[in-house]
Symmetry: C2
Subunit: 291 residues, 2 copies
């Protein structure tokens, strides 16, 4: 079992070869795609995929195209989410957002391009291996990223803006906007590594609860304001009219809810095959737990 940094290095390395496999992309488009893809993300999602695959007994080589695809999908969603018509963010991880650097039109296309290229990577892998597990991994990733997953969460988030606090709605948004893109790499990684259905279901539950716990912790930190302690990615301040877990449940209940979700994540993790150390450490890191 590798460390987070070792997996991350493997991801960086693989992401660096993506454009060689895609063919001749126009400079302006490639620059915009690469700017966001190399903008200093922690690579949490692809690391989860590689770790899950290895925990189930699979190889890194098998998992890498899918790991890159998940990171590209995450990156496209950030580019589109930052657009003026969506969250209207000027900065992301301390750097100007895509539309600030390349213009809105190119930012839309860079996002579209990253989603399309993610699929090209995965279908290339299916074509080379012709392994049914590769098809299933792609299907899992696209479902969690799609209109019943991440995009559904974004749509409801957009709809919810300025509306009344609604716990059920917020849970839907966090499930789909945040947790779905953690469930995708854990499920796909376990499946690629050869895990059985029960282990994949446990991995799915682990990532679901981790996603909720992370989002609750994140909402909490926006209010209590020591975001730096967790190495929070965006320097964005808490927005006034944004629906957050704290605005619905209050600080005290949010703290307890986050604890409960973290506990559920760690319980589900126990049912996974292989060495749990790295995923335990990621869980603690993402939820601010000391032990």
């Amino acid at each position: 079992m590798k460390s987070f940094d070792e997996y991350r290095a493997a991801v960086e390395n693989a992401l660096g070869t993506v454009f060689r496999t895609l063919g001749p992309v126009p400079d302006a488009l490639r620059n915009a795609m690469q700017y966001s893809l190399s903008a200093g993300g922690k690579r949490l999602r692809p690391v989860l995929l590689l770790a899950a695959c290895e925990m189930a007994g699979g190889t890194e080589e098998t998992a890498l195209p899918f790991a890159c695809a998940v990171e590209m999908i995450h990156t496209y969603s950030l580019i589109h989410d930052d657009l003026p018509a969506m969250d209207n963010d000027d900065l992301r991880r301390g750097k100007p957002t895509s539309h600030k650097v390349f213009g809105e039109g190119m930012a839309v296309l860079a996002g579209d391009g990253l989603l399309n290229a993610a699929v090209e990577l995965m279908s290339g892998s299916v074509l080379r291996s012709f392994d049914i597990r590769h098809v299933k991994a792609m299907e899992i990733i696209m479902r969690h990223a799609g209109v019943t997953g991440m995009i559904a969460g974004q749509a409801m988030d957009l709809q919810a803006e300025g509306g009344p606090p609604d716990e059920q709605l917020l849970r839907y948004i966090h499930h789909h906007k945040t947790a779905d893109l953690l469930m995708a790499p854990v499920e796909a990684g376990l499946l690629l590594g050869g895990a059985d259905d029960a282990a994949i279901a446990a991995g799915s539950a682990f990532a679901f609860h981790l996603g909720l716990a992370f989002q609750m912790t994140d909402d909490l930190l926006d209010v209590i304001g020591d975001a730096h302690l967790l190495g929070k990615e965006t320097g964005k301040d808490a927005e006034q009219h944004k629906l957050t877990w704290v605005s619905v449940r209050g600080v005290g209940e949010t703290r307890r809810d986050a604890e409960k979700e973290t506990e559920l994540a760690l319980q589900a993790l126990e049912k996974l095959p292989g060495d749990h150390m790295l995923l335990q450490s990621i869980t603690r890191q993402m939820t601010g737990r000391k032990q």
Copy 2:
């Protein structure tokens, strides 16, 4: 061999079932996706895919998920292309564009959702059949739709705005923005039907030349102004500063170029298997040829 209208009816029917296979999509998102998907397109691309598949000896049932996917990709590209940051169009086929009805944020998400859902349809088909040709068909469609295909054409079109007339650049834009999404369904359809590499190459050449001829004819009609004769889809007037084939080559040469490309398309068509009648008729329709 069916008629255009018969194939089109099969496409409409299959598109009507797409949301049943996707699962629970939030109303606001589904409405936005469905608005554009049912906005009165001619279904040229999916009809080409069904016809090509049948010409090569395949069945409609095999081809339909891929035909729907190509139409969904075409539709997403129109939604994003109409955005204020891109072409800034208020009307498409005489109806208000997506962002005019649902707002820019939801229009971005509806486009993302259609692209993602197109892939879900295709990977679902691969999963059910586990037929290598289905994987290849998906790979072909995603490559033509992607960052070396359609999205590349859109990026260069965005870059070219306001620039000097440049024939090579314009050919690149027409190849990728227009022809690629005709090559995709013809190649994928032939492959799904069981055609050999030579037939697929001929189909690719047919669709490439058809795409250029169509775009030249379209540019010509924007100038000479009898767009109604060809049933042009958009009611949009010729834009002043837009790079068009006529602005680069003049009316007379454009007419001759379009003739030449049409001829090359019809010559390539001769090398395809099966009955050529429907594709000949489509070619004449799209290029305004009398015979």
